[in-house]
Structure formats: structure tokens, C-alpha cells
């Protein structure tokens, strides 16, 4: 008993040291490095994040403001000044169509119905989509870890109450819950103590998405903690009279973290898709802000004449989510102690 306690306090007991003497994290990292799928996915993600981070640079080079209408604007294309919004010159002369992709610096992917540069909006929209997804994921993981650990470790009435709350949340279809919350909160400003959150704030979609996925993470965390609660090193700590806070932070949390890490890419992917869906329905990111979902909505009325407007953010979402899912699979395998390197 006396030998077990220090060991459990120093390292995650459920993730044993590898035969070659490396720690579990180093082993996982080594496995990831040796996975081509993981490297390609990470590169794609890095590229997307970098491109979005450089949005102001592109907008500056293109000379376009992605948040202001430019219906009467003109740009240089192949040495000629052409209108961004182009009136039809055939037949009855009906309709005005935004300029298509120029594949040049300005209006690389063409214009939307407000004459705005789609490429610039795509990059700025990506910043919002990624920021919302990352923030919502962080909120979700913190809440889920807290609820799962408390429920699993405390057991009894606390476990029953928290589990039933999770059951109630679980019972709602996730999109129905998200849409309901969005409609209620977006209709007016939302006051939380001294803080007032306006209807156009990004905090609303972040909070909504962060909350709705809590049951999906908290349940596996609780299951893990229930198992850990009965493990020898935890029982030893309890027997030695260690404070609960120490047991939770030194024995339980380190063993829960791999589970949480595996959820990161999955949650990021889910959050991006959910945010896009909400924004597409006008109940996520509010104009003049952009996100990939709002740009798809902008492009909906141009599907026939300028499909690029909707396709570009669609492709961005698919690439990001695909990369996150592949990376998530690789991460899960890398953190699995039973996984054997080929």
C-alpha cells in the first residue's frame, strides 16, 4: 500500500509506460508522427488555420472590405475595369449577376449578392467558424470533465442527479436543442449578472454549442471515473487519507485527459458543422459578421448562376471536418495503450 500511493500520484497509472522506456505521451506523439494520415490531416488543418489568420492580409492586398456592400464597385480584370455586379446584356436584359471567380488577387472567388469579395469573406468567416468551434469545444470539455468526474467519483445522489440532468439534455435531438436555444437567445439581448450579451455576439453560438454536446462527453468521462474509482491506486490514496481534491487532480484527472483529448477533434468537427447549420438558418453568427455557414446562406440565392459562393465555404467545411475526423481517429489510436505500431 505504501508503494502504490506515490506511484499513482506521479504518473497516469492507466496509461502504462512503454517497453522502450518512453512515457505514454511521448509514445503517443511518436505514433502520431509515424502516421501519414495524421500528418496530412494536421497539415491541412494548419494550412486552413494559417490562411484564415492571414485574412486581413488578403483583404488588404485585394483592396476589398468583406463586411461592406460594394454594389456599385468596379475592379480591374485583365487590364479592364469591370463592374462587380454585372447587368445582363442578352435577351430582355433581366437580372444582375455578381462577378465570377477572377482567380486573381482581387475577387479571387468572385463576388456575392452584395458585391463583396467571397475569398475575403471565406477567410474572415473561417476565423469566426474556427474560433467558435475551438471556444465551444473548450467549454464543452471543461463542463463535461467537471460533471463526469464529480458524478463518477461522488456516486450516490450526486451521480443520480447529474446523470438525470445529462439524460434530459441527451433526450433532446441536438439540432432541435441548438435551434431552440438560438431562437430564444437571439431574439433579444441576454443578461448574465453584470454582463449583457447582445444578440449579435459570438458568445451566444459559442455558449449554445458548448452546452449541447456536454452529455456526449460527460457520459464516457463518468464511466471512466467509475472504473478508476475502484482501481487499486485510487483505493490506496483513499486508504492513506489523501484529500479528495488531491485524488481528483493527481489520480483521476490525468487518467481522464486522454479520453478528453480524443474528443477534441471530434468536438471541433461537430462544432464547426453545428455552427454552420445554425448560421445557415440565420440563428448563428449574425450579419455583418461572417462564418462559413452564413456564406453558404448568402450563396443559396446564387446557386444557379454563381455556385462558387456556396461551394467555397462548403468545401472548406468538408476539408476541415474531414481532417479533424481523420486526426481524431489517429489520436485515439495513438493514445490507446493496446495499439501496436506496425
Amino acid at each position: 500500500m505504501t508503494d502504490a500511493a506515490p506511484a499513482s500520484s506521479e504518473m497516469p497509472a492507466a496509461v502504462p509506460e512503454n517497453k522502450d522506456g518512453r512515457g505514454p505521451w511521448a509514445t503517443a506523439l511518436r505514433r502520431l508522427r509515424r502516421s501519414r494520415a495524421a500528418i496530412v490531416s494536421a497539415l491541412i488543418l494548419a494550412l486552413i488555420v494559417l490562411a484564415c489568420a492571414l485574412a486581413p492580409l488578403y483583404a488588404g492586398l485585394a483592396g476589398s472590405d468583406p463586411f461592406r456592400s460594394n454594389l456599385g464597385g468596379k475592379i480591374m480584370v485583365e487590364g479592364k475595369r469591370v463592374p462587380v455586379m454585372q447587368p445582363s446584356t442578352t435577351g430582355l436584359g433581366l437580372g444582375v449577376t455578381p462577378i465570377g471567380p477572377t482567380w486573381g488577387t482581387a475577387y479571387m472567388l468572385g463576388a456575392d449578392t452584395q458585391g463583396r469579395d467571397v475569398a475575403a469573406r471565406l477567410l474572415y468567416g473561417g476565423r469566426n467558424s474556427l474560433f467558435i468551434a475551438a471556444s465551444a469545444t473548450a467549454i464543452c470539455l471543461v463542463l463535461a470533465a467537471f460533471v463526469g468526474i464529480v458524478a463518477g467519483f461522488a456516486g450516490g445522489v450526486v451521480d443520480m442527479v447529474l446523470s438525470r440532468i445529462l439524460d434530459v439534455l441527451w433526450a433532446f435531438p441536438v439540432y432541435l436543442l441548438a435551434i431552440s436555444l438560438s431562437i430564444v437567445l437571439l431574439n433579444s439581448s441576454f443578461t448574465l449578472g453584470p454582463v449583457t450579451i447582445t444578440s449579435g455576439s459570438l458568445i451566444l453560438p459559442i455558449g449554445i454549442i458548448g452546452v449541447i454536446y456536454v452529455p456526449y462527453v460527460a457520459r464516457p468521462v463518468r464511466s471512466k471515473v467509475l472504473t478508476l474509482r475502484q482501481s487499486e491506486f485510487v483505493l490506496a490514496s483513499i486508504g492513506l487519507g489523501m484529500p479528495v481534491s488531491r485524488i481528483l487532480t493527481r489520480d483521476i484527472l490525468p487518467n481522464v485527459i486522454p479520453t478528453l483529448i480524443v474528443f477534441v477533434p471530434i468536438l471541433l468537427a461537430l462544432s464547426i458543422v453545428t455552427e454552420s447549420a445554425l448560421s445557415f438558418l440565420s440563428i448563428g453568427v449574425q450579419p455583418p459578421d461572417a462564418s462559413w455557414g452564413t456564406i453558404i446562406q448568402d450563396g443559396q440565392s446564387l446557386l444557379y448562376s454563381r455556385p462558387t459562393v456556396a461551394l467555397a465555404p462548403g468545401i472548406a467545411i468538408v476539408l476541415t471536418v474531414l481532417a479533424l475526423n481523420v486526426l481524431g481517429d489517429c489520436l485515439r489510436d495513438a493514445l490507446d495503450p493496446r495499439f501496436k505500431l506496425g
Binding site: S88, G91, G93
Partner: protein, 558 residues
């Protein structure tokens, strides 16, 4: 517009003109013999609500009612401006006013039957006018409140008798209508579907989806708002006036609901539908205007798109801010959003072109004169600076249809250029119009449209901006700006009174009122739209009335 476009337009116009002259050249009987029969298939995104003609207030069904119901008088079923001419319908003639313009005696035609086989009588006329109040018709308090006894009917609709207001004489076959005061627009008001004459036995509540018998060439048979509305020939109909209620060419009309507007275009292109009610989506306009030019009809509307600004809420409670926005708007850009110069025309006044009282003027442009030329952003910014409202938060409320949302987004962008923290909120088109009317929602600025009910200046200026049209806290406050200027109100009352004896003089006064309104700028007029009718190849003899648009009874499909 380039030369090629002009040639195509002229060709389309000549084709239309030749078709029209063809009709006048041949006798109607010959045309009927050659083209009678078939089914006209119409499509729309959604149904238009209740089928009750005393309650429904949508162009979608008002178009259909023209061939199903009749009033004592009617707008002529004719092309263009002819469609705004009043003709006697169920009445034998349009009567002269007596009793200082307050009394009209209508002699009812004999031998007319409802589609259920019952005879039309004077009691049906009295009951119908009472029913307008009993079902709380949307215009009962505005169009028909001038009838003697209307006050009591508005106060207690269930017991409405219009005592002393609508009096029948069965022996003489006459109906006498007494007004509280002379009303130059009285005949217009009784020519719209809300004053349709229905059987006296018609339920005194909104019938919803259960059709009521009418006297027109067609009758409704089935109505399922989730699926379709079907009209067939009225077996008891005999044409009494070609101008008021012409017999129709097609045997039946089927109106299907549920397609998207993209789907509607495709259905018409493929010949699966003959006409789409909704305007074609903007990204299909170039295609149909090029590849289907001979199936497209573009006609001007007496209507306008505008942005009402709440004169009782910051920052628009400052006239300089309202004027600034008027100066800053690039109306050409908005015309582009609607589909280009062929489909819309920039305006900066309230009365539409060609409307009674309209005189071209534009104050809010770089070069003030008769037409809008370009935005004056410098002047606009100076006015905002002067007002000290820069930096305030403004939310533009549009509806969620594509064009309205785009107009709202554009206005938010202009307000941002002027220094405001502006955003746009697009809400469902089903509720937006009532939402922006209710002062409890604190709407600062919105996107709206107004289409004429009948051709009179008061139908725009008095309805949209009079003190009487402003009802704080109500969903039915069509004076969305909440504008109430006692002086201008008095001038409008005087102009309406003048119109009884001197309509021309009254129109001159209305033109001045239009200018006075725009000086106060409670709204930003944006553009006056044109209407696109996209028809299948087989629809011939398209006739567009300025009043109720397509006169379906005059078209044939075989």
C-alpha cells in the same frame, strides 16, 4: 441597356401588341370557339391563407377573386391602365351621388345566380356589407367606416346591421348606401374583393378553407393550403358584362403549392406549370430573360419598396438622420439587387410614377431635380455629424426572402458607412410585416413594400403616413414610421374633401403633400418595381391589368 436588348424588348412588345390586336380583330365568339377548354396550372411557394374574400388581403388570391366574385362595381378586366377604370358589375350602372355626395342608389341586375344555384337579391348585398364588419375584414375600419352605422358595427361586429347605412328595396331591386360624408374613393373601395357580394347565408365568421359561392365565371371547389386550390367553371354563370366579368377560356384552374421559387421556374420551363405566382429568383432572371424571352412579360407596378424609419426612436427621431440616409442610399445599387434597370426604377418620393398626384421630384440626390442621379455621401455624413448620433446602434429588420434580406444588408452597410453600429436581422416573411408595425418591438428601421389597393394618392400618403394609421402597440399600424404631423394631416383631409368635386385640383395638392412628406423624410423610398410574369409556351393572350395584374379569364391554353 444595349441595342440588342432594346431590339429584343421591342420585338417582345410588338408580339404582345400583335396578340392584343388579334383579339380585338376577331370576335370573342370565334376566339371562344377556337380556344375554350383546358386547364390552367399555376404554382406558388405557399398558399395565400384564408379563401374568404372578405378577409383575405393578398394579391395572390385577389387575382383569383376577379373571376370568382363580383361587387356592385368592378375594375374593368382590361390591359394596363384600362384595368383601373371602374365599370358597373352587379349593379346596372354606376349611380350619381345624391344628398350632397353622401347617398348612392344601386339598381341590381336581374337574373344573376350564385354558383350554388341561388338567385342574387338585394338582401345578399345588405348581408354582404354587414358581413364585412362581422368577420372583421382588415379594411372594415379604413375603407368602409364611412358608411352610416359603421361605427356601431366596428364597436360590436357580431350585431352589425349598418342601420341606415345600407338599405334594400326588394320591390325596386335597389340598394341604397348612405355615407357619413362624401367620399371620392367610395367606388374604388367597393370594387375590391373585400366588398364582394356573397350569399346572405354565408357564415359570419372567416370560412378558412371552405369556399363560399360567388357570381363569377369560376367557382372554388377544393382548397387544401398544403397542396392546391382548384377552380372550375361556375355552372350557373352567364356573362352579363364582358368588361366587368368576362367568361373564361379555360375550363379549370389548378393552383399548386409547395415548390421553391427555383422549382417554380423549372416547372414553367418544362411546361409542367403555366405560371408562377412568385417573382422568379434573381439568379434565374438572366436565363429566363434570354432563353425564354417570348414567355416573359414585364409590367410596371404602382408600388414601391421603402425603408420606414421610426420617427419616435433614436437615431431616427432626428430628421437630419432620416435625411442623411435618404442622401446616402445608392438607389441604382438597390435596383441591381431587384434585378436591374429593366425591372426597377430608382425613386425618392412616395407616389409611384403614373399614379394620381405623382409629379417627378428628387431632393435626396447629388443634383436635386426631377430624377435621382447618385448618392450624396458627403452631405449625408455632414448631417449625421451635425445630429451627434454617430456610433449609435441600429438594427435593420428585413424579411427572410432573398431580395428583402439583400436590401436590409445593403442598408446596414450604408448605415455603417455613416458611422453607426449597424446590423440586419432577417425574420420570417410570415410575421415581418406585422412585427415592424408594432411599436412594442422597438423597430428602428425596416424594409417594406406597398402596393396600391386602388388608384388614389391617399392610398399611399394617407394610409402610410397619417396620424389615423398610427396605432401604438398594435400589429395593425400600417404607419410603420409612426409619423404624425398635424399640419400635413389636415392638408390630406382637405385634399380628400377637394377630390369629391375637383379631383384634378386635389391631385395637385397631393403632389405638394408628397414633397412635404419627403422633407420630413419618415421613410426612404428605394425603387418602384416591375412585375415579371413567366408563362408556359401554351398560355396565350396574356393581359396585364394595372389593378389586379394578370386577368386569367382572358387567357387560353389551347
Amino acid at each position: 441597356m444595349n441595342g440588342k436588348t432594346l431590339v429584343t424588348l421591342l420585338a417582345a412588345g410588338l408580339t404582345l401588341a400583335s396578340t392584343t390586336s388579334l383579339v380585338s380583330a376577331q370576335s370573342r365568339a370565334e376566339l371562344m370557339a377556337a380556344h375554350r377548354g383546358g386547364t390552367l396550372k399555376l404554382v406558388a411557394r405557399a398558399a395565400g391563407g384564408t379563401i374568404d374574400p372578405h378577409v383575405n388581403y393578398t394579391l395572390q388570391y385577389w387575382q383569383l377573386y376577379q373571376s370568382v366574385y363580383d361587387g356592385l362595381v368592378a375594375f374593368q378586366k382590361g390591359d394596363g391602365i384600362d384595368g383601373t377604370v371602374l365599370v358597373p358589375d352587379l349593379a346596372e350602372a354606376i349611380p350619381e351621388a345624391t344628398n350632397d355626395g353622401k347617398t348612392y342608389v344601386f339598381k341590381l341586375r336581374s337574373g344573376i345566380k350564385f354558383s350554388d344555384g341561388t338567385d342574387l337579391g338585394v338582401d345578399d348585398v345588405v348581408a354582404s356589407f354587414q358581413r364585412i364588419f362581422k368577420v372583421s375584414s382588415p379594411t372594415s375600419g379604413t375603407f368602409y367606416n364611412g358608411i352610416v352605422g359603421a361605427d356601431a358595427c366596428i364597436a360590436d361586429p357580431a350585431t352589425c346591421t349598418l342601420d341606415g347605412g345600407v338599405i334594400s328595396d326588394a320591390a325596386a331591386g335597389t340598394v341604397t348606401i348612405n355615407l357619413v360624408a362624401p367620399d371620392p374613393e367610395f367606388f374604388f373601395k367597393i370594387a375590391v374583393p373585400h366588398a364582394s357580394i356573397l350569399p346572405a347565408e354565408a357564415p359570419t365568421t372567416d370560412v378558412g378553407v371552405a369556399p363560399i359561392a360567388g357570381t363569377g365565371a369560376y367557382m372554388f371547389t377544393t382548397y387544401n393550403p398544403n397542396e392546391s386550390l382548384v377552380m372550375v367553371r361556375n355552372p350557373n354563370f352567364t356573362e352579363w358584362s364582358e368588361k366587368a366579368q368576362p367568361d373564361g377560356f379555360v375550363d379549370s384552374i389548378e393552383f399548386g403549392f409547395g415548390l421553391t421559387d427555383e422549382g417554380e421556374v423549372t416547372a414553367v420551363q418544362n411546361g409542367q406549370a403555366d405560371w408562377m405566382f412568385d417573382q422568379p429568383p434573381t439568379d434565374r432572371l438572366a436565363e429566363i430573360g434570354t432563353n425564354y424571352a417570348d414567355q416573359v412579360h414585364v409590367n410596371p407596378l404602382t408600388a414601391f419598396w421603402y425603408a420606414p424609419m421610426n420617427v419616435n426612436l433614436a437615431p431616427f427621431n432626428d430628421v437630419r438622420v432620416r435625411q442623411a440616409l435618404n442622401y446616402a442610399i445608392d438607389r441604382d445599387a438597390l435596383v441591381g439587387i431587384f434585378g436591374g434597370q429593366v425591372l426597377a426604377q430608382p425613386v425618392c418620393q412616395i407616389l409611384p410614377p403614373g399614379f394620381p398626384g405623382h409629379e417627378d421630384f428628387c431632393t435626396y440626390t447629388t443634383d436635386p431635380g426631377t430624377v435621382w442621379s447618385a448618392p450624396d455621401l458627403e452631405k449625408a455624413k455632414a448631417l449625421v455629424e451635425e445630429s451627434g448620433t454617430k456610433g449609435q446602434t441600429v438594427t435593420v429588420i428585413s424579411d427572410d426572402t432573398a431580395v428583402s434580406r439583400e436590401v436590409g444588408t445593403y442598408l446596414a452597410s450604408v448605415l455603417s458607412d455613416l458611422g453607426y453600429d449597424a446590423s440586419v436581422k432577417a425574420i420570417s416573411a410570415n410575421i415581418q410585416f406585422t412585427y415592424i408595425q408594432n411599436t412594442n418591438n422597438n423597430v428602428q428601421i425596416s424594409v417594406s413594400q406597398w402596393y396600391q389597393d386602388y388608384p388614389a394618392a391617399s392610398n399611399f400618403l394617407n394610409v402610410l403616413l397619417s396620424c389615423a394609421s398610427f396605432h401604438p402597440g398594435s400589429d395593425s399600424s400600417v404607419n410603420i414610421a409612426g409619423f404624425c404631423d398635424k399640419d400635413i394631416d389636415a392638408r390630406m383631409q382637405a385634399a380628400m374633401a377637394q377630390a369629391v368635386t375637383d379631383p384634378e385640383g386635389a391631385n395637385v395638392e397631393w403632389a405638394k403633400i408628397d414633397r412635404a412628406m419627403m422633407d420630413a423624410a419618415p421613410m426612404a423610398p428605394l425603387f418602384t418595381p416591375k412585375h415579371v410574369d413567366f408563362l408556359s409556351k401554351r398560355v396565350q393572350n396574356f393581359t396585364f391589368s394595372n389593378q389586379f395584374q394578370w386577368v386569367m379569364a382572358l387567357s387560353w391554353v389551347q
